[in-house]
């Protein structure tokens, strides 16, 4: 690159040459600025999704680059939201990629003062064992008049309105249909 080339890139020179004396035109832009592209354009994949906050059900586009989510935007094709998201919906990118998310199973033992790390498989095993022990100890086969109850009131569940339909279905099927847990509730009463 010659000296002349370097000089020609100098904005003052360009302003004079291109008659952009106030530097409000193209001459103020660097090459880097000109070549910048939105993350959405360089994504490897675009995955269609739905906003996880309220029940309006706005469409979302999830942009993925190198196996990571690079951006989340409103889906312009959604007949409900036509590309719009509210402040919460627009913060979905931080919700799913933010540093607040824990990645490890934690355990607090009885009378404990701190959380401890626990391997996922071990935790699953421990929860299954506790469900069985509690269920077996609190099982009610029938009421005082001999009518069937076939349930436990020793275990309860809360939550579902932030989850998928399929997840609600498995919760209801396993807990109520399989284990006889009747105290299954969610945010519908909140």
């Amino acid at each position: 690159m010659g000296l002349w080339d370097a000089l020609a890139r100098w904005p003052v020179v360009r302003q004079i040459r291109e008659g952009d004396l106030r530097a409000l035109g193209d001459t103020a832009a660097s090459r880097r600025s000109r070549e910048l592209a939105p993350r959405t354009r360089v994504a490897d994949r675009v995955v269609r999704s739905i906003c996880p906050y309220c029940a309006v059900g706005c469409g979302q586009l999830v942009f993925v680059k190198d196996g990571k989510i690079s951006d989340i935007e409103g889906d312009p094709e959604s007949p409900i939201s036509q590309g719009c998201l509210c402040p919460k919906g627009a913060a979905t990118f931080q919700l799913v990629t933010g540093s607040h998310r824990l990645r490890q199973v934690l355990y607090r033992r009885p009378r404990g003062r701190e959380w401890e790390a626990l391997p996922l498989e071990r935790a699953m095993e421990m929860v299954a064992a506790r469900v069985k022990a509690t269920r077996d100890a609190t099982w009610e086969e029938e009421d005082a008049e001999g009518h069937p109850l076939r349930r436990t009131l020793g275990i309860a569940h809360l939550g579902g309105a932030t989850l998928d339909n399929e997840e609600n279905y498995l919760i209801k099927k396993l807990f109520t249909g399989g284990l006889g847990i009747v105290q299954v509730e969610n945010q519908a009463r909140i």
């Binding site: 990571k68 402040p87 607090r108 069937p148 989850l163 919760i171 399989g178 009463r189």
Partner: protein
């Protein structure tokens, strides 16, 4: 909604809480619609409305009742619609007595059981069929129309002013806007949210709106309806496929102990003689087939014996109070933060301290997960972490971008979200957690000869898994929900294909067809601009992809559109079928001229002119002969804790409400408690989400709404010496919290009976964890509930406010009584016959619960 000519938003701040949905209100306004906002606060919704009506929180039935009276007295109802499509002409039993006769009670109150017996609310001659006696002239003194007219005759503009603080000209403006925008050519819509549901009479709020909409002919027509604006992505889905105690999928009732003994009795008790619920056996047997597979055999009642039975109420607050009494040992909390989002956080924490084990699944450590080390009572030294025996497991959850699945939005639309990336670390979906927990439990119970273990052994649980974490395939679960023919495992087309002979399996009949043809229907994404405004090719709406329920009512009794302007679904004489913009919500080839023969049963009993096919008589119910715990008509009752005496009835509060009479759940005086002179209501903000687990941890949102605050009027501020930007302490008998003060004219005091009523607004998103921290508003609120759906009363209660950071963080649960000195003279909430309601377990009193659930967050 864009087609509405008038939209009344009440019990909702739609512009701030559902901003993108609100675009359609603005579109309607652009097309000329009148927008009305009825709300204690002037919000951004009010700012763009044509009329804003400030109202006393907790008085909406009186306001809506005033509109009902206006419609009836001035003959503004849509007569053709009312006569043909509602139960207005039907005669009510001679034994019925109204609240107007009995000082606030309907006939049938049973003082011993503490609840209503609906026997006297029935139609004359018994069952709710099309054959019930009626008077199409609407003149008979006992026809529903005349009963309604008498019931609401006292809800005059003057009374509305006395109860609600709304001046008569303002009420008349709203009533006139509704009436002028209803009829053949025009339609009006109502929108509500938890501002209507979270009351001890919440269900009756919506019922009053339903009466208005039926009288004006605004149900089943484009631009009409009553829209529930719900607050969670799949709160509708979790009601349809219920993580709720009293329902099985598709609104099938849970079996009741002693009543539904065996499948035969269950079907007999719940199958309607006429109308669509006559099909219930097909749906129930198909569900049993989906759950218990080959173990569901005809000779064994299709394994009905595997289902647990309920008796009474096992809803959230009942469960938590039982937990506080040590009756519940293990608790799963998934994607919910009850110590902040539910009432009376201190009572929740007391309950959790008595658990053996707690499992919390969320993004981060919520206040619920950390209840044992971070709570006001721990800070005050009243409870020590090392004394709490509860074992706590925290599992990090996968985000919606890390899993496949469908949400059902507030308009019953199922929309699929696709997995974009794998979840990090130990994060897993709830589908993964529940599937693998089930797999382990099936292994633990394998081979057990015990009778109680048969259900878990029989449960079908063979979903295909894939990926590095053995994630179960959500589409396979959807296929089971949608239903299939058992022999060839071929997906069914819809619920019409389901049978009661074990040949079909279906996990949720109203979702049947969502996997029609092996195609994931909720994943359909035909762009909005490439189809009609109804957008039938985007997602999938239950039932049968119908976008507007009861849409046969959009045509007149002969099957013609009521008007060109409002045409939607109509009868096509050439093809002899119903057709139109939407999937018709009717028997598609049943002509308008069809009349059932005498004694017809089931679907055959639905006349060609009866759009409300889920009801036994095919009509929209102005008067509800059964199904409600607190009366066939709405009546104005005061909140449990009010600033005023009920001017209408000696029975001040809903007689059937559920109370929890416990030392750790004290109530204020029924009205005018001098210790708690102000009216408090809670609400949400645009930048935060419910109990905050999905917003308070995000810096972007925390920065936008960084601090807990309360809204007070300049008048109240000067009365109490509250400074804008300064601190205030809010208190009730349950607890005390502090908040920054926002002095604003947006919460105007109201003048009622010559007295100035001050209202305080408090957002409820904050808690002690996350990036933005503050006191939780719900710590102030006690346990008390609507008897139909067991929802709490958080939108109207009495409270006190004082300037400064005086809060000592006390909670009645651990600090003992907060108010010193003798309690004020009691004021009776109930008439003598109601007062003596029997106490139930864990302090609860009255209310049988068990109604349909709808209208939560």
């Amino acid at each position: 909604m864009q087609n509405a000519d008038c939209i009344v938003i009440q019990g909702s701040n739609m512009a701030e809480c559902h901003p993108v949905g609100f675009r359609w209100v603005m579109e309607a306004k652009r097309r000329g619609a009148t927008i009305v906002h009825v709300d204690p606060r002037f919000t951004r919704t009010s700012a763009v409305a044509d009329i804003h009506v400030p109202i006393r929180a907790g008085s909406d039935i009186a306001f809506l009742g005033g509109i009902v009276r206006y419609i009836l007295e001035n003959e503004r109802y849509f007569r053709d619609y009312v006569v043909a499509y509602t139960n207005a002409p039907t005669l009510v039993s001679e034994a019925f007595r109204d609240t107007e006769d009995l000082d606030g009670l309907f006939s049938g109150w049973d003082p011993e059981k503490g609840r209503y017996d609906p026997a006297t609310w029935q139609y004359e001659g018994g069952p709710q069929t099309a054959a019930a006696r009626s008077d199409p002239t609407l003149e008979h003194p006992r026809c529903v129309f005349q009963v309604l007219k008498r019931h609401f005759s006292r809800y005059t503009p003057e009374l509305v002013e006395e109860v609600c603080g709304v001046p008569p000209p303002l009420l008349l403006r709203v009533a006139e806007a509704l009436c002028a925008n209803s009829g053949r050519e025009r339609t009006a819509a109502f929108c509500y949210a938890v501002g209507w549901t979270q009351h001890t009479v919440g269900v009756q709020y919506i019922r009053t709106a339903a009466i208005i909409q039926l009288l004006l002919g605004n149900i089943g027509r484009p631009g009409g309806g009553i829209l529930a604006l719900r607050g969670h992505a799949s709160i509708q889905g979790s009601t349809d496929i219920p993580t709720l105690y009293n329902l099985l999928p598709g609104y099938l009732p849970m079996p009741k102990a002693g009543r539904d003994v065996g499948l035969g009795r269950y079907l007999e008790n719940h199958t309607a003689r006429t109308g669509w619920w006559s099909e219930l056996p097909k749906y129930a047997v198909s569900l049993l087939k989906a759950w218990y597979g080959e173990e569901a055999r005809q000779e064994d009642d299709w394994a009905f014996g595997c289902l647990p039975h309920i008796e009474g109420d096992h809803s959230h607050m009942v469960t938590v109070s039982a937990m506080a009494d040590g009756m519940v040992k293990g608790y799963f909390v998934m994607g919910e933060n009850p110590t902040v989002g539910s009432m009376h956080g201190a009572l929740h924490r007391k309950a959790m301290r008595r658990l053996d084990w707690l499992v919390v699944r969320d993004f981060a450590l919520t206040e619920t997960a950390d209840f044992w080390r971070d709570a006001p009572e721990i800070e005050r030294g009243e409870v020590r972490s090392e004394d709490i025996e509860t074992e706590v497991f925290f599992f990090p959850c996968a985000a919606h971008t890390e899993k496949d699945g469908a949400f059902t939005n507030t308009q019953r639309l199922l929309q699929w979200h696709h997995k974009a990336v794998e979840p990090p670390g130990d994060c897993r979906s709830e589908l993964h957690f529940v599937y693998h927990l089930g797999r382990r439990l099936k292994a633990l119970y394998a081979g057990s000869p015990e009778r109680p273990d048969r259900a878990i052994q029989a449960l079908t649980w063979d979903y295909p898994v894939s990926g590095p974490h053995d994630e179960p395939e959500a589409a396979a679960v959807l296929a089971e929900i949608s239903g299939y023919r058992v022999a060839e495992r071929r997906p069914v087309d819809g619920f019409a294909e389901l049978a009661a002979d074990g040949s079909t399996a279906c996990g949720c009949w109203i979702y049947s067809g969502s996997y029609r043809g092996g195609v994931n229907q909720p994943a359909r994404r035909e762009a909005g601009e490439r189809q009609s405004w109804v957008a039938r090719e985007w997602g999938w709406a239950w039932p049968a992809n119908r976008r507007l329920l009861y849409n046969r009512a959009s045509a007149d009794p002969e099957g013609r559109p009521w008007s060109e302007r409002k045409r939607y679904v109509w009868w096509d004489e050439e093809t002899r079928r119903w057709t139109g913009e939407d999937v018709p919500d009717f028997i598609v080839d049943r002509p308008p001229s069809y009349r059932p023969r005498r004694g017809a049963r089931g679907i055959a009993a639905i006349a060609g002119t009866h759009p409300f096919i889920m009801q036994g008589d095919g009509r929209g119910w102005l008067f509800v002969p059964n199904g409600l715990a607190d009366g066939p008509l709405p009546a104005h009752y005061e909140p449990q804790e009010s600033v005023l005496r009920n001017p209408l009835y000696g029975q001040l509060c809903n007689p059937a409400r559920i109370e929890w009479r416990r030392r750790d759940n004290p109530y204020h005086r029924a009205w005018g408690d001098p210790r708690f002179p102000y009216l408090l209501t809670t609400y949400r903000l645009t930048e935060h989400h419910t109990a905050g687990a999905m917003s308070r941890w995000l810096s972007w949102l925390a920065e936008l709404q960084p601090e807990m605050f309360c809204e007070v009027s300049p008048e109240l501020a000067s009365e109490k010496g509250l400074a804008n930007g300064g601190w205030a302490t809010l208190s009730t008998a349950r607890g005390e919290i502090e908040a920054r003060v926002l002095v604003t004219e947006r919460v105007p005091p109201l003048r009622l009976r010559g007295r100035l009523i001050h209202q305080i607004g408090v957002p409820y998103h904050w808690g002690s964890r996350g990036r933005t921290r503050g006191d939780a508003a719900n710590e102030l609120i006690g346990f008390v509930a609507d008897p139909n759906v067991s929802i709490q009363e958080s939108k109207a209660l009495s409270a006190n406010i004082e300037p400064g950071r005086r809060s000592r963080g006390r909670r009645v649960v651990t600090s003992g009584r907060l108010e010193l000195g003798p309690p004020p003279k009691p004021a009776e909430r109930d008439l003598p016959g109601v007062r003596a309601r029997p106490g139930g377990a864990h302090g609860s009193a009255a209310g049988s619960g068990g109604g349909e659930t709808k209208g939560g967050a």
